[in-house]
């Protein structure tokens, strides 16, 4: 189980949003850290096959990102994602279950599991327009994992969650990371500090550091700020 990005570049006119990034992801949670505008979302869109790279390629166990096989094992929660306000939570999940190729029976069972998992059991038949920000975020997370993805990509997934929900979410991500490749993009260090076994730090479309981080290494936030300020491109690759 290996997701590989090889010399990935994406240019928009004169601006290079992602500049020759290479990395490999294995089972477990990987945190993608970078300030706003670092190129995280562009990278993620390419990894989800919804934005073509200018050059370079992404493969999962040799399968290219544009293939149906890849999309079949992918779960994705974009930053600032949308929903259908007049759909109930159940409609929303059943629709995405169909989009992800789940049969009706499987989809129904999976929906019930997920409503329990994201603590929305009593709101399943309420229209999403009546959900709070945190509830919307949780239904978004549920759609991302409805197909039991082998690759789960989450772009700023904790936005709108209250502290209690954040803890619950971290536990969920930790659990998912045992079976899947999870890439969690954020600019908030505390989101990934305790769950990500591996960290990729980005600045101006490039990797400025990637490697594993343990609690005994000290504060990740301090290290991140140091890397960010120095702009070092040296990889520690611990």
């Amino acid at each position: 189980m290996e997701l590989k990005a090889d010399r990935l570049t994406r240019k928009y006119d004169r601006k290079t949003a992602v500049d020759g990034m290479s990395f490999e992801l294995q089972k477990g949670v990987t945190g993608l850290l970078g300030a706003n505008g670092a190129g995280k979302t562009t990278l993620i869109k390419m990894m989800c096959g919804i934005l073509a790279p200018t050059s370079g390629e992404i493969t999962y166990d040799g399968v290219p990102v544009k293939s149906e096989e890849y999309r079949n094992v992918l779960g994705y929660l974009p930053q600032d994602f949308g929903y259908y306000p007049d759909f109930t939570g159940r409609d929303f999940l059943m629709y995405f279950a169909a989009l992800k190729g789940l049969g009706k029976k499987d989809a129904k069972e999976r929906c019930a599991e997920l409503f329990h998992l994201v603590n929305l059991e009593d709101k399943a038949d309420v229209k999403i327009r009546n959900y709070s920000g945190g509830m919307k975020q949780r239904i978004g997370i549920a759609q991302a994992i409805i197909n039991r993805p082998e690759i789960l990509i989450l772009d700023e997934p904790t936005a709108g969650l209250d502290p209690g929900e954040r803890v619950r979410f971290r536990n969920l991500i930790e659990e998912l990371g045992k079976e899947s490749i999870v890439l969690l993009s954020t600019h908030i260090v505390s989101d990934i500090e305790h769950v990500a076994g591996r960290i990729i730090m980005m600045r101006a479309g490039q990797i400025i550091w990637q490697g594993t981080w343990k609690e005994e290494d000290g504060s990740l936030e301090d290290f991140y700020l140091k890397q960010f300020e120095s702009g070092s491109k040296e990889s520690i690759n611990a």
Binding site: E68, L74, P78, Y83, F87, G101, A144
Partner: protein
Amino acid sequence: MHKNRTFGTLYKYELLKIFKNKVAVITFMVLFIFTFLQGEFEVSGNVTPEALEQYRTLSGRAIDDTLISELLDATDESGRIVSDSDIAYEDFNDWVCDVIGYGLSYSDLNETSLYQERKRTIQEAHELSCLTEAEEGYWADGESRISKPIVYHDTVVTAGVLEGTTNLLIMMVVIIATALSSVFAMETQRKTDPMIRASLCGNRELYFAKILAGMSYVLGAILILLGVFYAYIGIRWGFDGMEYAIQTYRPFSQMALTNLQLAGILIMLTILGSLLISAFSLFVSCITRNGIAAMAVIIGTHLGLFALSSMIPYGMRALSQFFCLMPATLVSSRLVYEFRLVNAGKLLTCYQAAPVLYILMTALFIIIGSIAYDRQVK
């Protein structure tokens, strides 16, 4: 992977999205009510029940010297009905006025002059249309199949049915624009597109589920409106006169059809035309990814085609004829006066060529839209 098994579910939810579009549903409901009103006023707006009863005393009579002499007795020199007791001749008199126009005075009116005037007007129309010899031959054959003298029947119900059917297509354009302009655009505007595109069935399968849902909605809507309109007319007024030749309503036509057959043709063209406009609308929604812009393009295109069709000179035959074949112009009883034919191996009238053209254009818009949808991943 279980892609095929989920197509039905995707279709169901795409249809649900359209039904959740309040603007579309309200528009449909308003036009549903207008369809009832149209069923009433397309007929009662033009005649009182008493006058209609009087007109029908002449129905079934041949338009010959006997009937014409009765008309002349009932009218003055300028062709006006003189006495209220002769109201039965009012509708027939309108028909005669339509045929003779300014070309013949009432003092010279008889069976021979009336049919000669009709023939002369048709010949003028042929010349204006720059018909080929083959086309002239086609219409000469058509004319020979029209039995004469023409048998009169009032066209109050016929006019209501045929004009009402034309109006239904205009209503459908509004329904289509409000319901389908956002089918693809909403995914961009609601920011659901990235999640959809990253899904297994978010590309081709979803595209066709959206197309099928959009077209089913439109098909359902047009069948309901047509059903309501024809049921109302049938129950309230009956279909008297529909079994008569279309020359009772459109005297210069050389098509050997009854009014009922023409209504059937217009119904078929309204359905196929609505599906063509739907395919175009879905294509525009897919390309523009903006509901308001798509709505403007859909309505603007329909109005533009309607306006342009009468502006393009007959000399630019191919272009002018193509515009005439578009639903905005074609779904009308007036097109029985379109004498230009389409040569597709054999000569076809506009009503014969249009269904084939509409089906081909519908398929073309769906295919081009599918390619565009696939290529929207940048």
